[in-house]
């Protein structure tokens, strides 16, 4: 089949439109729905396992790698924490410039089961934070992420939690930098961090 110049132009236009639409879909991730260019400073005030209340400004200008999860989550959460652990190992001397944080969205049960033991099993640098219900909801709202407790008679204690499984990168000034969607390889996260440190 031979295409006329006009047909070629039309096909090219259609191709560009499809690409543009695909880009739009990809970039229109549901969370967080911030406006590009507008400053976004997600925050939290949550205790670690010793009861010390921590906020983004308490980490001495480090980059923060933030993950919301719960320790009764045997599939998605360990996968992401393992990636974070790998990144911390691979950062070598730069590891001190990055603070990985695991914010529990199931704080009561996670405190009971032991959050620090859990995070330490992945990497000693990871700090687990577990507040009360209000502090937890405030942190999730500030990061514009979703989590919801869902009753499920077959789940441990009769409930499970749906949640945003991405990893969030916060800059030294508390500014939102980007998210890494679930399943982003450690090597990609590492390369991104290296370009910023």
């Amino acid at each position: 089949m031979r295409l006329t110049g006009m047909q070629k132009a039309l096909w090219a236009a259609a191709g560009i439109a499809v690409l543009a639409y695909a880009t739009l879909l990809r970039d229109a991730g549901p969370s967080p729905g911030f406006v590009a260019g507008a400053p976004f400073h997600p925050t939290f005030s949550l205790p670690d396992e010793t009861g010390r209340l921590l906020s983004p400004s308490d980490f001495g200008g480090k980059h923060l790698l933030v993950f919301f999860g719960f320790t009764n989550c045997p599939d998605v959460c360990p996968t992401t924490l393992a990636e974070v652990a790998q990144v911390m190992d691979d950062l070598g001397p730069d590891a001190g410039k990055v603070q990985p944080l695991f914010i529990s969205i199931d704080p009561e049960r996670d405190r009971r089961l032991g959050l620090a033991d859990f995070t330490a099993a992945f990497h000693p640098a990871i700090i687990g934070l577990a507040g009360d219900a209000a502090q937890t909801r405030a942190a999730a709202d500030s990061f514009r992420i979703h989590f919801a407790r869902e009753n499920d008679a077959t789940a441990p204690d009769g409930y499970t939690i749906s949640h945003s499984p991405a990893l969030y990168l916060i800059g030294p000034e508390g500014d939102w930098l980007r998210q890494f969607t679930y399943g982003t390889p450690a090597s990609e996260i590492l390369a991104d961090l290296r370009s910023r440190l």
Binding site: G29, P30, S31, T71, N72, C73, P74, D75, V76, P78, T79, L81, A82, E83, A85, Q86, L113, G114, D117, F118, A121, F122, H146, E150, T154, A155, P156, T160, S162, H163, S164, P165, A166, T181, Y182, G183
Partner: protein, 157 residues
């Protein structure tokens, strides 16, 4: 008593090198069964493996049973609109001529009500129930909590 029996199973297999065994059931080949270590028995464990259907009829994994957990179930992690949840999966389809994986971020065996902590380096048996092919028991290798895939020489092939 249940715990005692289970400990016996674990200690028998604790020192064995990882089998990464391949098990055949009719047209089905099951391999790369692995799990992650747990801290204590208070949180659920997980089960991953690969099933290849070399036959010309579709089958499906419809259930799992193991002495390692009081309530093992098939789950599927679904990420939809940026939110992850893991509903119960009634069956994992194993179409003719295809390989399906229970793998991180997708189908998995959810091992609730663990009998004992799953310790790295140990193994435990899991019986898989298929709609057509029947039942078969495979050996599951318990890897580190940080493991992201099976730890066999032929892993990922």
């Amino acid at each position: 008593m249940k715990t005692l029996a289970f400990s016996a199973i674990l200690s028998l297999t604790a020192s064995a090198a990882f089998a990464c065994e391949t098990v055949t059931l009719g047209d089905l080949i099951i391999q790369n069964a692995w799990s992650r270590a747990t801290i204590g028995a208070g949180r659920p464990g997980v089960l991953y493996l690969e099933i290849t259907n070399k036959g010309s009829t579709d089958d499906a994994l419809v259930g799992i049973a193991t002495p390692a957990a009081g309530m093992p179930m098939l789950h599927e992690t679904v990420v939809s609109n940026g939110v992850a949840s893991m509903p119960h999966a009634m069956a994992v389809p194993v179409p003719a001529g295809q390989t399906v994986a229970l793998a991180p971020g997708g189908y998995h065996g959810m091992l609730m009500d663990l009998t004992a902590a799953l310790k790295e380096g140990e193994t435990f048996p899991v019986t898989l129930m298929f709609q057509t092919a029947g039942e078969v028991t495979v050996t599951v290798d318990v890897l580190s909590m940080r493991a992201e895939g099976p730890d066999c020489a032929d892993a990922g092939q």
